[in-house]
Subunit: 335 residues, 4 copies
């Protein structure tokens, strides 16, 4: 951390800042520049809280240098983490696809969709039994019976299941039925839930919060890893911006940035970012071109009558075509 | 809701859209314009899910007209909701001030600060016992013992207590000690926690999510009210923008907008928005000028050694001056 | 346009709003819903200014339905516009690549880069002679002599030239030397410059403003087309968001959205969005996968000593590899 | 500037980075930390372009320390700049108010509004003769005749005039008629126009770009000052965010931040930020409370029939009341 002093600050203030740094247990090294003095904070274990020094007299700015994360960091572990679930591996250069409807609506529905996405090459099945909805009056998911239907899908198709857990209360229940635990956008900083997921032996898909920086996202993963669960898959699903032509703005540059900072695999959910079908197709192809570790796509056998998010769900035959394109693109990029 | 068809769409597609609307149980009224046909969805109870119709053939756009909230809406209840806690009333045109440190650090600390803010005119005391921290390695709060210290503050000063609850697990514990339950930014869409707060008889301060629209925020309040708790105080604390000179951007226009849409009181937290002390003072005065229903301000007796957010905490003597200014400004604006 | 009245508004206010609409020369049609009255504004030629009605008594909201653009609109012209420059065609399903350095630095530099990008398959050469720089103290470009060097590139390699014009003063000068006129991000709403470009017979690359909505961007293109120049190529180059791991956030969903709204070709500049080389490569591949009408990429023969934006410029051998990948991906997507 | 090397980077790469720094003419000082080496760039005159070093091998991050602005900086000139125009002074602790319609529509209109705002205490008159409009089909202002009407206002009321200049072509014309030159949001980085304004002897109101950081805004002012014009008044008018309940989000924390960085006066335009009248009133009061150096407010004698932005214009009697409140609030804050 670099504590930058104002131009012409008095010696007393500089000394006071140095003392404050030492009082917190750190080493302080003054670096006189041409115009001003900066003080480096050295030999700190882990990152330093900038707010401790920002308000001191004569301090102009406090600039973090060390990143606050440890276990998620590529400096901590250089090799990519590989997470194997069923036939799929996330992080080894392959491109597994997770597909299924937004919400589990009925046994027939999930079985029908699961068979068609499996035929098209999907490696895992997704579907929400507990749905986080902006409105208390919207369909909230089937709950436990939805999980039972998902288990039926696994039984009949062999596809591992990805489903969301919304709270600590239902954690054990969801964990029992699912192969990968999904933590949604709105819960990215639900620290109690993160800790709970950190104690599980199931891999976790951690969706990026709607306005989370890469650093905050990695820190959320750190909460999970710090409890002992190393199998975290990051999932970019679009951020909130001023843009109105799509529901969210898919931040594709985060893939390269996350891979630079962290060893964790990162996948993309183009469906929630787009909000409309025609954007999903092109964003899915872009995701394959980008070097992501997989995608998660919503598919529905009857989007017109879907109970939620019909407009962004692909028709099964669209999914077949997207799979072909994504696989061909992935083969080119992987070379 | 208005379903706008593309220019020159065929009669069949228009009829199909009308049928899809009717199938969902709504009344459809086509409105031929000069260029294109739009279809009004009428006599719907509550709002309509736009995604149901967005993906239909020939549909260009779906425009919501009715707002999705009910109980929080000023159309539902015209008069301002007044929420009385101790000597303070939120929503009746007065300007109660909540003050205290970011985190409870010790009994001495909270008692010392509480006495000074009470003398300066604060009506409630705030302090965090459970702290949501971006990093698992940061100070997470004192937990239960922090709540005990807060109870001591109430006992000795008579000030009602505001403290944050982070999860359902600790809800009953926090509820037992606090007078107002605070739900933080990161939990604004933790729907399980909102429902839990809806069953409590304590008033709730609901902080706005970092990138929540007014509508999403009011829908979160709707979750609480729908469970039976009508005493929700909205709290603006800054939104995430591209700006780097402050931690968040305080969205002051939301006060007038929220008061137009809803009968709920709305207060402002300038401390978290600013992140640095000098901005807090001017934003607090602006909050008073704006017609907000109160403010929540961080004050620390020894910010240099605060365990969190020292840089944004006011010194007690600064707080005295801000109180004077805010009260004088409020008197002018209230006229 | 839909003028939504407040619930329970008086008949007088509704009538007054109807009269205000008529006074402006439009047809007003009241649409009684269950809860409230809305008034449709019909048979308007072109779009209606919402601010005319937003402040009227009893008006809750004004919702635009018709889009304000005409000439750029796909409703106005259904077929894709094809723009041919040299061997390249923008908008016909091909994927022309524009490459070159950020700034023209010397004749040797541009000739060297031009030859290598031509060999790799680039169809046009880019390079800035007039550089818009945030700081008056940064290198502002070589000016006219830079244009002369660019002309030399065309002469020696046959590649058409793309270079930026910054103001009306230098318009004729730049126009004389370039094949495509580029209007930069900061000038997207420099209406005098847009009108000037509209009178030129050169195609125009119109970069998206840093925080421009799709509608504002298309309206800027409308300014050019309204003056008679139909050859406008839209160029997405990243928008400003809260994100800090890349200079800007490339908004890839805008490609599908722009193609839905407009017949104009749209290309992508991944270099300025990323700001760092490793992100440029993956975003360029994603651009090809997305169905964009081309890309513009910065390449430098000696990025370490580049006078501007060295960090985001590809090395020539990286460019060769990206070209191969982009072409292979484009072939898949085009099918 | 601090060049942060990756953990475990080789000695060769560190030396290469040091050499690259020296080659650009700077002093390089390596600062070994616990985990990694950083290299300080010292004794640079002016700021250093980060992109020069960001792409070098082994470089993880480049962190600017020195700010790139000089003349606008408070480190360069400690005392507030005072700008006197007519009876008004910007920057001396007073609170001058600029008022008038969005657009000049007729001589009668401007004279009528000017008299009423003067009576209410406004010190300057604003009105647009050249209007930057998103659509080429919207009213573009009266042009020169509008300037003549503004001159008439000055003649009859004695109020100095503020009006916008949109391009270099009309600069001399506008300059001839106006007392303060306004440069609008969309032109904040129209560097040719900034340079032109820098050669004028008229004070300049420089509106903040819609997504400009404080640093970019100050650099735009630096362009003006660098040409010799020291009389620059910054004007915050709202930034673009995800928010939809107001046209823009007024960034009030920028006032304290700008005053810390710069000696230039800063005023606020609440009208354009809000877009609707009821928000304007409360934001104007907040601006007075904040310690801004003035405000600019839109007032119209007949907003229902205004040719632009009627919804955000105050009625003359509303303006009277806002003036009273703002003055009273300013008196409190100034103490």
């Amino acid at each position: 951390m670099l504590v930058v002093m104002e131009k012409g600050t008095s010696e007393e203030k500089i000394q006071a800042a140095i003392n404050a740094i030492k009082k917190r247990g750190y080493t302080a090294r003054p670096i006189p520049g041409g115009d001003r003095v900066s003080i480096g904070i050295l030999h700190n274990k882990g990152s330093v809280d900038a707010t401790h020094f920002l308000g001191l007299g004569g301090v102009k700015e406090v600039i973090p240098v060390t990143k606050p994360y440890k276990l998620v960091s590529r400096e901590f572990k250089q090799k990519n983490t590989h997470i194997k679930v069923g036939d799929a591996v996330f992080g080894n250069g392959s491109f597994p696809v997770i597909a299924g409807p937004c919400a589990v609506e009925s046994e027939t529905q999930v079985l029908s969709i699961a068979k068609s996405v499996k035929n098209a090459g999907a490696k895992l099945f997704r579907g929400g039994a507990f749905k986080p909805r902006t409105s208390p009056y919207s369909f909230q998911g089937l709950g436990k019976i939805g999980l039972v239907f998902l288990a039926k899908v696994r039984e009949e198709t062999g596809l591992p299941i990805v489903t969301e857990v919304m709270d600590v209360e239902n954690f054990n229940l969801v964990e029992e039925y699912t192969d990968i635990i999904q933590i949604g956008t709105r819960n990215m900083q639900n620290f109690s839930l993160l800790r709970c997921a950190g104690k599980s032996d199931r891999p976790v898909i951690l969706k990026r919060g709607m306005s989370a920086t890469l650093q905050e996202w990695l820190m959320a993963a750190e909460y999970i890893m710090e409890e002992g669960n190393n199998n975290v898959i990051l999932c970019e699903r679009g951020i909130r911006t001023f843009v109105r032509h799509s529901r969210n703005t898919l931040d594709l540059s985060v893939v390269a940035a996350a891979k630079k900072e962290s060893h964790l695999p990162i996948i993309i959910d183009p469906s929630h970012a787009a909000g409309v079908r025609d954007q999903v197709i092109s964003l899915a192809c872009a995701s394959a071109a980008l070097g992501a570790d997989g995608v998660m796509i919503e598919v529905h056998n009857n989007p017109e009558e879907a109970m939620s998010d019909g407009a962004q769900s692909l028709y099964p035959d669209q999914f077949v075509k997207v799979m072909e394109k994504m696989n061909a693109i992935h083969a080119i990029v992987r070379k």
